[in-house]
Symmetry: C2
Subunit: 683 residues, 2 copies
């Protein structure tokens, strides 16, 4: 629920990922150096060459808010989704000037608006550091292993990026610990809003249409990267090609898929199915209900809660999709059969041993830790600020190699930016979120559990959240700045009740993280590397790693699908919006659509679907044609793609994109932005 990067709360900082068994056509989130050129040529009679791939890679942008994007002009102009900039529009809105509702057109550079917490990053270099990292933990296990590994990573990252104002270094584990790579990014921490349509144009159909198709959504926006107060130069941008997609044409999606779990073992999937997913579905659904009702209480709350509700419904839909996939015996049987195949092929290989048994043991241990680990980190933005300030103060007092991963020298600048950037806090919303999370902690841990007692003392969840939110001054960025600058002494001397509360929890959170590292993350790092070796041995190395929010490319084609005996066509048109509108939210026509109806070319392709293999984090990714031009921005998957976390099914999984043709029509006719049209048309 927080927009600050969770630190202690994330299950494993190095995602377990691995190379995969026999691939289905169009499956794969490929690294650029592993792109399956031969396979694509065999399937499509053509494949991109190295120069093509290099040009595309140079224009690809990662947004630290969790999205993907691309440069589409020489002046740092960035295409992404509206839902990737909604928090920025929201943070720049007030009750009097509701930009989210009205839409935003800067018109000229001076009017472009800063996006709090947002940073744009472009990969400039990828180096293999596998030997260094594996060497650092050789012979170790459990928590000693994770400590040594993380220390080495901190050291490599620090050495790689000496200028942390302009660069960011990040070591990522690929293939479940089979490989470690150092990604170097050119970073731009001043990102501004250029153009956003009305929220309703982007969210037309709202949650009912979320992850469905046909869709009628203008889920596109433009940002611009600045440095030293000026737009940056981006000669290596993608060519804007505002044309309709053609059925069957090859498409490439370039972006940063967040995470997948396609090669998890049976016991990892069982943990998901039995513990994480149901807990998430039940608790998120309840929060959704609390929020829906609260937003009905006043127009202010309706506005102030919208961004949180949208994000929550998006997440919930993902988990409902995972629940469905994990409960589908046909789907899970395929996963089990892939696992059985790998086990059979690995039998008798002494170097591999039995990593499945090691993972079973780690998962059993993790089951005992999961609920306290999850629920001892309360929700709410103010609490997240407090937790991050407390941890930062404690960690910065240590040598770089001994710090928690979010607080190493290479990670600190972004953490600092996210804590200190000004943005609005709505106390009622924070209180709602925090009291919900505390009440769920008590429910899942039990009243008599020591962690429940630590969290609540003798207070009720409601009273505690009310007291902490009402008493905290952390909504003021100056207060956060003083605590950041003051370090541990300032934090420990603070009488802010939220800071005191975060301090009170921090020992227990650290103890839990230590226990999780010892019993789960450490063993998984070892077993994961063995599983990766087993897969390379069994299936060769022409494969893709699980997603890790690093740059990938997927290939596919423009194509509808068959469902319950009928064909879902590959595209919708702008005109379809008018047929679908009911007048009632969330199917009320965006006001500028209504006003400009006569001028709008209704035949223009609006949204379309492709067979590209994507996942959350790919939002905003350019959809690129054979010529290297951008013809869309991916913004969703269809409902079937939600199982894509565990496996890809090309007959049903689809990427949903908004076409550049529709965006062009919007820029020319609906939300006119002539300067932008001109900029996009420039060579």
């Amino acid at each position: 629920m927080s927009r600050i990067v969770p630190v202690l709360g994330c299950a494993s900082l190095i995602a377990l990922a691995a190379a995969t068994a026999p691939l289905r056509a169009e499956e794969g989130m490929w690294t650029f150096d592993g792109f399956p050129t031969d396979r694509v040529r065999a399937e499509y009679g053509w494949a991109p060459d190295k120069a093509w791939l290099g040009r595309v890679q140079a224009a690809a942008v990662r947004l630290t808010g969790g999205c993907s994007a691309s440069f589409v002009s020489g002046q740092g102009l960035i295409l992404t989704n509206h839902h990737c900039v909604a928090s920025c529009v929201f943070d720049n809105s007030t009750g009097e000037n509701d930009l989210l509702n009205k839409g935003f057109i800067a018109g000229q550079r001076e009017n472009e608006l800063k996006c709090p917490g947002q940073q744009a990053e472009v990969v400039t270099k990828i180096s293999d550091v596998t030997d260094a990292v594996k060497g650092a933990y050789a012979g170790l296990e459990g928590e000693a292993l994770t400590k040594a590994r993380d220390a080495k990573i901190a050291e490599i990252e620090k050495a790689g990026c000496t200028d942390t104002r302009m660069t960011r270094c990040q070591v990522v584990s690929l293939f479940g610990g089979g490989q470690y790579k150092l990604y170097t990014y050119r970073k731009y921490s001043d990102v501004r809003l250029v153009w956003a349509p009305e929220d309703r144009a982007a969210t037309f159909g709202g949650d009912p249409d979320n992850f469905n198709f046909p869709r009628y959504s203008m889920d596109a926006s433009f940002l611009r990267a600045y440095e030293n107060g000026k737009p940056i130069k981006t000669p290596q941008h993608l060519k804007w090609n505002p044309r309709a997609p053609k059925e069957g044409e090859i498409t490439f999606v370039v972006g940063n898929p967040g995470s997948t779990s396609r090669l998890w073992t049976g016991s990892q999937l069982a943990f998901e199915r039995e513990l994480r997913v149901p807990t998430t579905v039940a608790t998120f659904s309840e929060l959704r209900g609390r929020l829906i009702r609260a937003m009905e209480e006043s127009p202010e709350k309706a506005r102030e809660g919208l961004d949180t509700l949208n994000g929550l419904e998006n997440s919930l839909k993902v988990y409902l999709g995972r629940m469905k996939a994990l409960g589908d015996p046909a789907f899970t049987a395929k996963l089990a059969s892939a696992e059985a195949d790998l086990k059979a092929k690995s039998a008798g290989n002494a170097a591999i041993g039995d990593p499945w048994a090691e993972i079973d043991k780690a998962m059993t241990a993790y089951r005992g830790l999961y609920l306290p680990y999850r629920f001892t980190q309360p929700g709410g933005d103010l609490y997240s600020y407090a937790e991050a300030l407390v941890l930062a103060a404690q960690e910065r007092a240590k040598p770089n190699a001994e710090r928690l991963p979010g607080f190493t020298d290479s990670a600190l600048p972004l953490t600092e930016k996210q804590i200190l950037d000004q943005r609005p806090i709505y106390p009622w919303l924070d209180e709602l979120t925090m009291s919900w999370s505390l009440s769920k902690a008590r429910e899942y841990l039990g009243v008599d559990d020591p962690d429940s007692k630590l969290l609540l003392g003798k207070e009720s969840p409601e009273a505690l959240a009310k007291r902490l939110v009402a008493g905290s001054k952390l909504a003021d960025p100056a207060v956060r700045k003083a605590l950041w600058d003051g370090g541990l002494a300032a934090v420990e001397a603070s009488d802010d009740p939220m800071i005191q509360y975060a301090l009170k929890l921090s020992d227990r959170q650290r103890a839990l993280k230590k226990a999780v590292d010892a019993a789960y993350a450490g063993p998984l790092a070892l077993a994961g590397a063995k599983l990766a070796d087993a897969r390379f041995a069994a299936y060769g190395d022409a494969n893709y790693p699980d997603a890790t929010f690093t740059l990938r490319i997927s290939y596919g084609q423009v194509k509808g699908w068959e469902e319950r005996g009928r064909t879902v066509p590959f595209q919708t048109t702008l005109g379809g919006t008018f047929d679908r509108a009911t007048g009632a939210e969330p199917f009320d026509l965006p006001s500028k659509f209504a006003v400009n109806e006569a001028k709008i070319d209704k035949a223009v392709t609006y949204d379309f679907v492709t067979t590209n293999d994507i996942i959350g984090g790919n939002s905003g990714s350019p959809v690129i044609d054979r010529a290297g031009g951008v013809i869309g921005a991916a913004f969703d998957g269809n409902i079937h793609s939600l199982g894509g976390n565990y496996g890809y099914d090309g007959t049903l999984n689809r990427t949903v994109a908004v076409s550049t043709a529709a965006v062009q029509e919007a820029l020319e006719t609906i939300y006119p932005a002539p300067a932008l049209v001109k900029e996009l048309a420039a060579k």
Copy 2:
């Protein structure tokens, strides 16, 4: 969500149930004529004889609200749970006189308060009508089968109870259609409230402690059955024995377990796991959140929503427990192995054939019907009134044998009472429930689905619910009475928007019921009977049927259990309440506990656990000792017992009861009711 019996919405009016494979000790919800005397004697060295069982059966009461109870004096005094009478206390409360909050002590007969919609029933006769029912549908299948079966049932019920003012006849399918039995009840439709403690005393610990143990709950109340304005005579009552339970002593629980699914086939369980349970958990959780937030808006709403929230949280916990059980591979493996055993033993038996395949086919068909069937029946009390009035008007115009089950001559009196009894309706609550159910219908069916369009037209769920609730006059019992008396002409001429809405939906609901009967209920009736035959053939007939909200007896013993290496003791004491109280809801001390602390005997046993095998519907059941005295009222299971819907595990499943000793202390000291103490002590 409605307190009116659902008619079209319930999946199957005849529950599929069946005899079971090898039993675990203490497993079983036995019919009185099938009580396993020899087994009990072998395990406990003693077993009740026929006379003992007869005495106990004569004192057992079924409450049509969905609970169990028992006569405990010669003047119609009934012991049950507080949560079984909470709706009655709530319906008799106002903002000025909040009986639910304060508790209620009638003191004398004239002050006893009528309970809307409540009826007490005592079984007087059970006859086997298997041949008649099976004969009626011989050679038929699908919807023709269910029609013929239901017509024969309506005929038998009508013939069995000519005086529907004093008797009720109900044909119940046992062993999944293996047997049909006619239950004849003496009914008492005037039931009044005698004594109820403060709500907080009954709900101390609230949802966090729900389905947990240790518990500190005074979940007991007393009702009285009246006829012709006078208390009835009940010479065959149980003896009130206000003593502490002894660890290890044998106990019997006598009541009406609602339903179990212990012998469902793999495809039925898969349907539960993949569709019904997750849908219920997600949607109920969201409703819970909406309600929690709404109740925070004002003290009035907090009071007015409480009864609904309590019921909802209770249901939700049941579904979360089922989700956990169905997701536990060790648990489901046991069920699968029992199925495999039965299949093996039935192989080659031509008379049995392959009922599993028939059920697989029926479940596949039902999967396609389930979501429309579920979601075309909106929530809310006013809508439920409207639906019941519409259906009753339509059905009463038909001959008895052609009516829907809830509207046959034998069923009509209770339906009428439930529709016409006066009780408060809170429009905000009805609007909340209805708009939630409509928005979930749209979410699960999809915006483009014809049923979504039928439900919503071009309105939003919120606007439609608001309009219907604001415009309806059905909260007024006189309006309902006029429509009931006026029949179809009055209903069709009504301009009440809720009636018009229910009329609009009724054709589609009937079509769906027809489709469900044809593809699911009909085939299940046939296959279920074959499975029952297979089980009788394989395991003999010394067995118990799945629960059907008919009278059963279970045996067990007073016993704690082992959990995560520690022993959960078998009892709590009244004094423990004071240790557990925090001052914050729902752990705030009941006010009379606080006031009377010095007088209360803190050593008195409060709640205790036994190994009896029970399920929802057993709430309020007397816990009876070897001597036939009542020593407690069952009010809950522990968290492990929630899997009891699918199978019993004697090492972990526990019944939770409030002891008569604690109730006696309450009657003497905390909520003094001297007349009641005297009445209970009388021979």
